[in-house]
């Protein structure tokens, strides 16, 4: 019997039991669709983060305590505002360095209140991070020097506290201290359904007083252009290392951030895809189970086919092709559902999703392999049936 003849015979058998075939495929359909969707979400997330990090500008360098990529407890910063001049000398541009101290705080405005991230910042922040204002003005050097109690709101925080009203000139309370709102930052949008505009900026000196510390969490440095980023980053590191010989520092560039995020996302996607893959495996077990039932039900047919001249391998091929057809048809349906699901998710949910060209290809190959793997056992059993015994079965 030729290959395509086995294909035709198997297809007829599946058609004869349409509902059962569909139900058997369901496990594979769900498994494949889940894998395709998870991989798409992983790829979409990576694309989104890459575009966001790129939006920061490729010449941004973040100076933080601790060694990036190292395990262990996070290091408490020993950097102070005094270090800013050191870094400014390295870059050769005082406006290219900005300090930051962050803390989660509750902010109130009259009856309205919200939990938000309070950033202690300085006048150079908008230039270094490329954050334009939507309204009012940003913190000035004088605000920082005199520890003024003024605040600039993120667009979402402004909306939460003041709804449609203009916040500029109004009062807010952070940690029991009253601040006057002097500006609102332009909207940045969402990332993974989380707003990037849920924040309050106050002078870093004021923040240090409220929190009772004199440290700085991080410095952000904008290099003159992307070519000098590695050199500047090395110099920044060396300068700080000289001042704090016993404290590790990291100067993280955008490329490194992308690398780290890529690794984390890759790992996360693999884990999720593996979990989704388990359902594909369970689907395979279902196929195996139904094929065994089918072999039992069709024992007489197998006996007859053998009496008429079917060899062991003809019968084996018939049932193996049937199992592989079940999983590959299921695989194709799963791919369709997965691709359509990914597109819909991307369009109608906060989750980004981008279908990777290779995921349907791999999904199809894997479902075919599942069919072979789980189909061999029932098919061998069918092939080995003794025709005398098989014909006698009722």
């Amino acid at each position: 019997m030729k290959g395509w003849e086995a294909f035709r015979v198997a297809l007829d058998a599946l058609r004869a039991n349409r509902l059962r075939s569909l139900l058997t495929m369901l496990g594979v359909i769900i498994g494949v669709a889940a894998v395709v969707v998870v991989v798409s979400i992983g790829a979409g997330a990576r694309e989104q983060i890459e575009s966001q990090v790129e939006g920061l500008g490729s010449n941004l360098i973040l100076v933080v305590p601790g060694e990036a990529g190292q395990r262990g407890a996070p290091t408490v910063s020993r950097m102070t505002l005094a270090d800013e001049q050191l870094l400014e000398r390295v870059v050769g541009d005082p406006a290219a360095v900005t300090a930051r101290l962050s803390s989660g705080e509750r902010i109130r405005a009259g009856a309205a209140s919200a939990f938000t991230t309070v950033h202690g910042a300085d006048a150079d922040m908008p230039r270094v991070f490329d954050r334009p204002l939507a309204d009012g003005s940003y913190l000035t050097a004088t605000d920082v020097d005199t520890r003024r109690r003024v605040a600039v709101l993120g667009s979402r925080t402004a909306e939460q506290l003041f709804a449609d009203a203009d916040p500029v000139g109004r009062q807010v309370t952070v940690g029991g201290t009253r601040f006057r709102v002097i500006g609102v930052l332009a909207e940045q949008g969402e990332s993974f359904g989380v707003s990037q505009d849920d924040e309050v900026h106050i002078p870093i000196t004021t923040a240090q007083r409220i929190l009772g510390v004199d440290r700085v969490d991080a410095f952000a440095v904008r290099a003159p252009n992307s070519e000098v980023v590695p050199a500047v980053s090395r110099q920044l590191h060396a300068a700080l290392k000289e001042r704090y010989p016993d404290q590790p520092f990291s100067a993280i560039t955008q490329t490194q951030i992308l690398g780290v995020i890529g690794n984390i996302l890759g790992l996360l996607t693999s884990v999720l895809a593996a979990i989704a893959g388990i359902s594909l495996l369970v689907g395979g077990v279902g196929v195996s189970n139904i094929m065994l039932v089918s072999v039992r039900e069709r024992t007489k047919e197998i006996g007859l086919r053998k009496a008429l001249g079917a060899r062991q391998r003809d019968v084996l091929a018939q049932f193996l092709v049937e199992a592989v057809l079940l999983t590959t048809i299921g695989g194709v349906l799963g791919i369709l559902i997965g691709v359509v699901g990914s597109v819909l998710l991307d369009r109608f949910s906060p989750l980004p999703a981008a279908v990777e060209w290779w995921s349907p290809v791999v999904a199809f190959a894997v479902s075919a392999a599942v069919g072979v793997f789980f189909g061999v056992f029932p098919a061998r059993r069918a092939g080995r049936l003794d025709p005398v015994v098989a014909l006698r079965t009722e």
Partner: protein
């Protein structure tokens, strides 16, 4: 043309191991079936006639002795070679028809040719011719469930003959049919035997059916009790072997 006999059995034995016990289903059976013969194997249930039928159909191998079907030693063939021998030399007709209920009459009849590697167009052509030969030319696309028992058995006969075998093995072919349909099936078998020269071996316990065969082989307790071929070399139709009076044939019994 010195062709080997269609079937040649010499001291064929078949025993089964049932745990500690050995069951001897056939205890030394010898006979020969030539081309064009029309023989009935008869015997009570448990006599070993089913075992004999399976051996003649190359579905099983003898424990000892020599069984040649179409000149080939069944015991020496592999499973795949046996399958091929069944496909080419033997046509089966079963009591319960054994048709694939999902397939049309045409596809059922074409099935043996599928396993012979005959191209699809030729399979359909030959299957159609075989169905016409059993007067079912008008039922090609019907499924077994849409046919009467007599028609189903005629489809089965067409399937047995489509591969032009040397031997047609019929196991109680009229067992599931009423007398009118049974007679029709027997008439077709006799006609085919006469026209195409295929050797027909019937296994039956129906004395009337057996009586229509030119030769009777009576099996009892795993042995051939009576073989009218030896008692009646001319192979004349025997009127009624079931009604005693043939004790003389006991000499044929092999110990």
């Amino acid at each position: 043309m010195s062709r080997a006999p269609a079937i040649e059995a010499v001291d064929v034995r078949r025993s089964y191991d049932l745990g500690a016990e050995q069951v001897h289903a056939l205890r030394g059976v010898s006979f020969t079936v030539s081309d064009g013969e029309y023989a009935a194997i008869i015997g009570p249930s448990g006599s070993g006639k089913s075992t004999l039928m399976h051996l003649l159909g190359c579905l099983d191998r003898p424990t000892s002795g020599t069984l040649r079907v179409d000149g080939r030693d069944v015991a020496a063939l592999s499973d795949a070679e046996l399958a091929r021998l069944r496909n080419e030399a033997i046509g089966f007709v079963f009591q319960a028809f054994q048709l694939l209920s999902r397939s049309s009459a045409l596809d059922n009849v074409a099935l043996p040719l599928l396993y012979r590697g005959v191209p699809r167009a030729e399979r359909r052509e030959r299957a159609e011719a075989a169905l016409r030969a059993v007067n079912l030319g008008h039922r090609l696309g019907h499924r077994p469930t849409q046919m009467s028992g007599g028609e189903q058995q005629r489809v089965a006969i067409a399937r047995a003959l489509v591969g032009e075998p040397r031997i047609l093995l019929a196991d109680e072919p009229t067992g599931n049919l009423d007398s009118r349909n049974g007679a029709e099936v027997m008439r077709i078998l006799e006609e085919l035997n006469a026209v195409s020269g295929v050797a027909v071996v019937l296994v039956t316990h129906d004395a009337e059916v057996a009586a229509r065969a030119r030769r009777q082989v009576r099996v009892r307790d795993g042995l051939v009790e009576l073989d009218t071929a030896a008692a009646n070399p001319a192979q004349e139709p025997v009127p009624d072997p079931a009604r005693g009076g043939r004790v003389a044939a006991a000499g044929e019994e092999r110990a």
